[in-house]
Structures are given as structure tokens and as C-alpha cells.
Symmetry: C2
Subunit: 322 residues, 2 copies
């Protein structure tokens, strides 16, 4: 089966709100309203770097879409259209079928149209571009955090890192914990509804892909403010072994990447509203710290008020692996 | 120098018409008018597959943008925004600097904003996403060709294939021919102004990336029509050795990819207007055939009217290399 046949068979799913999808030099879309801003993001996933070559293809397809949906969610935008670039060492039809099924399922949860892409031979890698819509001026940026804002996080932290540890044989886990950690690592749930609900409420937002400390550092740096975090407040799941006193716990919960939760800041007057919103969406929202006036401040406090020293730097794809 | 520093230094060029570029979870853009349609395309370029690993990085950056600009041109759209995904085996700062310079230059020729992207470690590959704008309903599609249309092509054919042959040591060339062929292969000029000028004139269009026969086959297949081509009419440059009687000439001119010219169809009443347009833009426009009613017809005629047999199939990145 040739490249063109393959593209036609699996990469031309039906679309809901697209003028022209697939099979031409470009796809054509029309924004859904006149006052819309478009949010665009592109993410690379390289085999051996961002995922295991032997990862189940349906899960990989799902995750490739989900991590880009998460970026759109962090802007408070509604995801609408996706493009997929797929580099594959060989044309393995069952693999492509399963991959595209997972990709499609992830998109379908949010009525996102898969409008085009490219396939070619080479070392396995994925390039997803996601386009969302948000009413003009309402996007959530990293740069909007204000002194005195509460710092919030959705869901639980460190589960994906636990799943990765398990996949790498670094830890053993009870069956239930194992299932939860692997699902969080391989099938992250992008917080799309939450992001949209935070319009007009959050001053700033970012999604957690590089780890809480690194991503929060991006946010407060962009906002030219500081941050104090309370380690005792950090939400963790029942699967997470250990406590904040353990080095490994801290590495997973504070520095572990790929949780794809939203970290955002909001004025204290929104506390009860946000608690209600979390309950309504079925997503725990937890206050974990405060935005401060000192732009260089990155303070992590233990439950006794003592300062903990942990690196707030980002995961570096050139220095930390390879 | 870390990943984040690198991204900040080279990948945050100034933008002209973008709400928010780089450094957030997504970029934000606003369409320039209310009746606009957006054209989106994404292209993968893999080292060893689409370009030589040792290709001069400034030229590679230029070409990566140009081939995507060409897709937007083929839709009759005005290119406006670009995203770049860059997979690099190591962080080589001079390489990244030169690459981004070429990429930026290519975009700057058409006032395209570079609004974001992603970088990571891995086997060298590029993923470019380009977004253009076109007034609603005016995009040029592959599917619009009508029986009786003239088939036109811009520029000359087969020069890029000649440049590739030279790079592969398959042929020797006089110095002037060599320079021309290599420039056409490594620095293709996307026909952006031409594409926009063809709105309301051409019934259909495609850019020539896979070779004339393959791409024209895509166009007439999408339009459910047939095609007759006159080999004696095909425009070639002075660099192109041989004649239509030579197998190698036919391979380069008819089947060679990467010319990034536009192939389009238009009613015969536009002949003089199109000749004037070509003169005005400084781009030769040549009539090379006719659209016919028989959907299966793919006829290539020599100057004596005899049928020539050549494969009209597309280049297959999985079957033809590796």
C-alpha cells in the first residue's frame, strides 16, 4: 500500500466544521465568529525521547493529540482543528490504523476536526499542530499573574512521573496504583473545559508539561513576579508513595513532567467560586501558594515554614537526555 | 546554552501582525478581515530523506519555509503566519543561528510572522506549519478543473531534479547550469504573488512538489477529469541538458519533484490575460495541455502527436527511498 493510499484511508476522517480538509495543498477553515482570536501550538514527540518506541500505538495517538489539546486548554481556548505530521520508519498498516484511531478518539472528545497533515519515512517522530478559538482579549496568558494572586493547580501532581518510573523499572507498585500511574502517563486528560471556564477568572495559566517548579517558573518569570509554594498543600493521588520528606516524592511531584494539569493564578475573591467550579467539573482544584512582589523569589516551604531547596529549572531536552 | 535560552534567542523574532508570539502555551492571531478563510498546511522534512544532512543550514532554513509557502501559494492564499518544529541531534549554536536566519529571510519576503514552534533532541527533522488567508470562496482547489480548460505551468520544469542529480554525482554540468540547478533545488521561489493573482482566473491549482505527472494526476483525479499534455510545450531552462527524446530528460522534467512551480487550469478566454500576468510578475506562464472529459485519460503526446508512456504516479516516501 503506497503513501497516498495510506493517507487517504486513515488520514481523511469526516469533519464537522471545516471548509476543506485533506487532499489539497492546504486545509481551509473559517473562524466560528467575528470576534475570535485563534490560538496555535505545535508540539514535537520523538521516539525514545518523548515516548517509548514500543508504546501501544492507540495510546500514542491519543497522547499526541492530548498534549496539544492541553496547550490550547492552558490558553482558555476551545480546541477546533488539528494537523498531524507523522514520520515512520516503515509503513506498518496495523500500527497506523491503531495510532490514527487513538488520535481521532482524543480529538473527538472535544469535537476537534482533523484537517490534514503529512506522512513520510524516517526515524519515528510526530508533529502535531492544534488550533483553538477564544473570544478576543480573553485568552489566558502566562504573563498576567498579579501580586497577591493565589496559585492553583488542577488534579494531582506526580502521577505521570510515577508511571514513567514504573515503565523504566525504577519502582514497584500495587496493581491499582500501577494502573492509575500508567493511565496518567500514557492517557493524560487535557483540562479543556477547565481552561475555558477560567476565562475572566484566572489572571494567568500554564499547563504542566515540564514539571510544576519549572512551569511555574515560566509563568512567574513571564509575569515579572515571584512565588511562594506550600509543599504541604500539593495535591497527590493515592497512588503516590512517600511524603514530601522523600527525595523521590519531591522529584516526581515537584519536578516530574507530563501531568498536563493546569497551573493558574487568581485573586483570592475567587476562592469559593473556584472550589465550586472544581466540584462541578469533577476536577479537584487546589490552592498551593501565593504570587509575591519580588521577581526573583522562588520559595518552597515545608509544613513547618522552613525553606526547601529544589531546582526550579525546566527539563532540557538537549541536556537531560541523550 | 540550554534549550530555553536557545528558543528565546533565535526563535522569538519580531512580529508584524500577531497578537502573541512565542513564549506561551500557544500563539494568538486575529484574521485580518471578517470574510477571511484560513489555509493551513504542515510539511515534514527529514534529514537523508528530503535534504542532505550536510546541507548549508541557511539554505535549509530558507527551503523549509519556501516549500510551505508554496502550498499556501497553490491555494491562492496570502501566507501570514508560520510555526516551526525543529528536531536536532545536538545543540549546535552556529547551525541554529544560520538555519533560523534562512528561515526568517524566506518568511520576511512575504511579511510572514514566525509565531512559535518547538525544539527537541533527536534525529534531524523539521516540521513547518504555515497559515495563509484568502477571501471566502476564492481559494484555488485541486478539484475545480473543467473540461476544456488549458493546463498551465509557471517557470521551468526539471531544474530541481537536475540540481539533485548533480548533488548525487549523477551528472556533470557547466558552471552556470550547475549554479542555476542548485539554486532551484536548494532555494526554490514559492509563487506567492502568482497564486494570489490567479484568484478568480484559475479553476484549479496545485504546486509541483512530487513531479509534474504525479501532481497533475492528483489535480485531475480530484477534479474527475482527464488530461492531455504536449511534451513539446514543456518549459525548460537553458541548464537542462538533452531533449524530450532522452529518458533522463523525461525523468527530470516530467517526474522530477521539488520544482515548486504552480500547475493550474483556466478557461481559454484567459490566454492573453495570463500571458500579460506572467510578463508583469516576471514568471513565464506556459500552456502545456488540455483538460479532457474522460476521467481515466492521462495522455502525454510527443511533438508528432504520438503517445508517450510514462508513469503518472506520485513519489512515495516509503517505497522510493530507504
Amino acid at each position: 500500500m503506497g503513501e497516498f493510499d495510506l493517507i487517504r484511508r486513515y488520514f481523511s476522517p469526516p469533519v464537522l466544521h471545516t471548509r476543506l480538509a485533506g487532499g489539497d495543498d492546504a486545509a481551509l477553515i473559517v473562524p466560528s465568529s467575528r470576534d475570535t482570536e485563534l490560538a496555535l501550538t505545535t508540539d514535537l514527540l520523538v521516539a525514545g525521547q518523548h515516548f517509548f518506541m514500543e508504546m501501544e500505538p492507540e495510546r500514542l495517538g491519543y497522547k499526541a493529540a492530548a498534549v496539544n489539546l492541553s496547550d490550547i486548554a492552558a490558553m482558555g481556548a476551545q480546541p477546533r482543528w488539528a494537523l498531524l505530521g507523522l514520520v515512520l520508519p516503515t509503513m506498518d498498516e496495523p500500527w497506523v490504523e491503531a495510532f490514527s484511531r487513538g488520535f481521532r478518539q482524543s480529538l473527538a472528545s472535544y469535537q476537534v476536526d482533523w484537517i490534514g497533515g503529512d506522512t513520510t519515512a524516517g526515524p519515528m517522530a510526530l508533529a502535531v499542530t492544534m488550533v483553538g478559538e477564544v473570544p478576543q482579549g480573553q485568552a489566558l496568558r502566562r504573563s498576567g499573574a498579579c501580586v497577591g494572586d493565589d496559585i492553583w493547580v488542577s488534579g494531582t501532581l506526580g502521577d505521570a512521573a510515577l508511571g514513567l518510573d514504573y515503565r523504566l523499572g525504577r519502582c514497584q507498585l500495587p496493581e491499582v496504583a500501577c494502573k492509575l500511574a500508567l493511565e496518567r502517563f500514557e492517557l493524560p486528560v487535557p483540562r479543556v473545559e477547565l481552561g475555558m471556564a477560567l476565562r475572566g477568572v484566572a489572571h494567568s495559566a500554564i499547563d504542566l508539561s515540564d514539571g510544576l517548579l519549572a512551569d511555574l517558573d515560566h509563568l512567574v518569570t513571564a509575569s515579572r513576579v515571584g512565588a511562594v509554594l506550600e509543599v504541604g498543600c500539593l495535591p497527590v493521588s493515592l497512588a503516590q508513595p512517600g511524603t514530601w520528606r522523600d527525595v523521590e516524592w519531591c522529584r516526581r511531584v515537584l519536578q516530574g513532567g507530563e501531568d498536563y494539569e493546569l497551573c493558574f493564578t487568581a485573586e483570592p475573591c475567587h476562592r469559593s467560586g473556584l472550589s465550586q467550579l472544581g466540584a462541578q467539573l469533577g476536577v479537584p482544584l487546589t490552592r498551593i501558594g501565593t504570587v509575591t512582589a519580588e521577581p526573583k523569589q522562588r520559595l518552597l516551604r515545608d509544613p513547618q515554614g522552613a525553606e526547601m531547596s529544589l531546582a526550579w529549572r525546566g527539563f532540557d531536552h538537549f541536556q537531560d537526555i541523550s
